[in-house]
């Protein structure tokens, strides 16, 4: 073999690579692990081994040229993150943060679920009353579970609600759930409703609106279970 710069005529034993010299699995694994190939290996594999070695050769100057900028960015990032607080051990602050995040997430979940339940009127009576006073959720005992009065529907023909008309399955499900209530509960509901009606307040009428609509709203009574 001749050294670089020699003329072609000075390289009579120029090796010719062929597909027969491709590395098998064992030699390929050796090449990948950086073990290279032995001197007895085909020239093609030796060329491949050298190519991989060059690809993994030591760092070139320009590859390390950005060190100052990288360190400056590191200093800015760590100062922003407060990593330089005296005596701080790695992991203590993140552990506290993760606990705080967990507590925050739990609070958000409870709030969301509670709000949904309050709007749906399914909370226990004291809590529902509190929700009603606080942010106008439906009053207790007047949610969608108010039973249908005995003797069938008392809904007027012109009061067919849009929602019920378009969703007969929903209307049927409501009727089934209301009929499934115990009689005692149904009786209590009816008593409360009558008492509030006697007190004559618009407030009483407004409270029993399951959708939280004002009493004067044209659709306020359309979905009212007690009106059926």
């Amino acid at each position: 073999m001749s050294k670089s710069g020699g003329s072609p005529s000075e390289m009579p034993n120029l090796p010719r690579l062929s597909t027969r010299q491709l590395p098998d699995a064992a030699s390929a694994e050796g090449l990948l692990a950086g073990r290279g190939v032995g001197p007895e290996a085909p020239v093609g594999q030796q060329a491949l081994a050298r190519l991989l070695e060059i690809a993994a050769s030591p760092a070139i100057d320009w590859e390390l040229a950005g060190e100052a900028a990288a360190v400056a960015a590191f200093a800015r990032a760590t100062s922003l993150a407060g990593c330089r607080s005296a005596g701080a051990r790695p992991g203590t602050v993140p552990a506290f943060r993760s606990l705080a995040r967990l507590a925050l997430a739990l609070t958000a979940c409870v709030t969301a679920l509670g709000s949904t339940a309050a709007v749906a009127g399914t909370l226990p009576a004291p809590v529902q009353e509190l929700a009603h006073v606080t942010f106008g959720a439906p009053a207790p005992h007047h949610g969608v579970s108010v039973p249908r009065p005995a003797g069938g529907s008392s809904r007027q023909p012109g009061q067919q609600g849009i929602q019920a008309k378009d969703q007969p399955g929903l209307q049927e499900a409501r009727g089934q759930s209301q009929q499934a209530l115990p009689d005692a509960v149904a009786h209590d509901h009816q008593k409360v409703h009558c008492r509030r009606a006697r007190s004559g307040g618009q407030a009483g009428h407004q409270e029993i609106n399951p959708a939280g609509r004002p009493a004067g709203h044209p659709e306020a009574s359309l979905d009212h279970p007690a009106g059926r």
């Binding site: 597909t19 020239v43 491949l48 690809a55 993994a56 030591p58 760092a59 590859e63 960015a73 790695p90």
Partner: protein, 208 residues
């Protein structure tokens, strides 16, 4: 000009770019996590060159920008990192890989970007790159030849050879089974060898 058939003693020094701090690593990492800039600089000098080569193969001209983003993320999360030097290396390349995926997604959503088209146009053909790698024997030429492989094959070869990671680490980084990683790497090596053979044959035909 060096050629691959020249005497091995004429070739560039081929020690691995993947630096290893070994026993010093835990102390250096601990100091860097506490904000020591000199310790971070040691980590950076040790791991940046192979990271940059990995990104040059996968992200082309965007390699340095992506590498800067990766190190910024490392700086922010270093205090939470747990593990030794191999785990740190694996974490670093995992962050880099995610950045590359984001970059490709962005390029996919913005196909009219002139820079992407120009990069495709400027990319040399595989045969030309193989010839350049053979003749110049520079690191950049070797990486350019590897970059002509299918992305999956090029990635696992660079992670194995340049980053110095074992099959298991590479499999975790790319999210594949170790067997699939081996197959991809072996196919890539065979393709490289075939391209080298073609280039050598051309050189032989020209020079004779």
């Amino acid at each position: 000009m060096l050629r691959y058939w020249d005497s091995p003693r004429d070739w560039p020094d081929a020690r691995s770019v993947a630096g290893v701090l070994e026993a010093e690593f835990p102390g250096v990492l601990r100091a860097a996590a506490l904000g020591d800039e000199r310790a971070f600089a040691r980590l950076w000098r040790d791991a940046h060159p192979p990271l940059l080569r990995y990104l040059r193969v996968l992200a082309g001209d965007a390699a340095e920008d992506v590498a800067s983003e990766v190190w910024l993320e490392v700086a922010r999360k270093l205090a939470r990192f747990r593990g030794g030097e191999p785990e740190f290396r694996g974490w670093l390349f995992t962050l880099a890989r995610r950045r590359v995926i984001d970059l490709r997604r962005y390029a996919g959503r913005h196909p009219v970007r002139l820079t992407a088209d120009a990069a495709e146009l400027d990319r040399p053909a595989a045969e030309d790159t193989a010839a350049a790698a053979l003749e110049r024997l520079s690191t950049e030429a070797a990486l350019a030849l590897i970059a002509t492989l299918p992305s999956e094959q090029a990635e696992v070869i660079v992670l194995r050879v340049v980053a110095g990671l074992d099959v298991g680490q590479v499999a975790r980084i790319v999210g594949k089974r170790p067997g699939a990683v081996r197959v991809a790497a072996h196919r890539g090596l065979r393709t490289l060898a075939a391209r080298l053979a073609v280039s050598a044959g051309r050189a032989q035909g020209v020079t004779r």
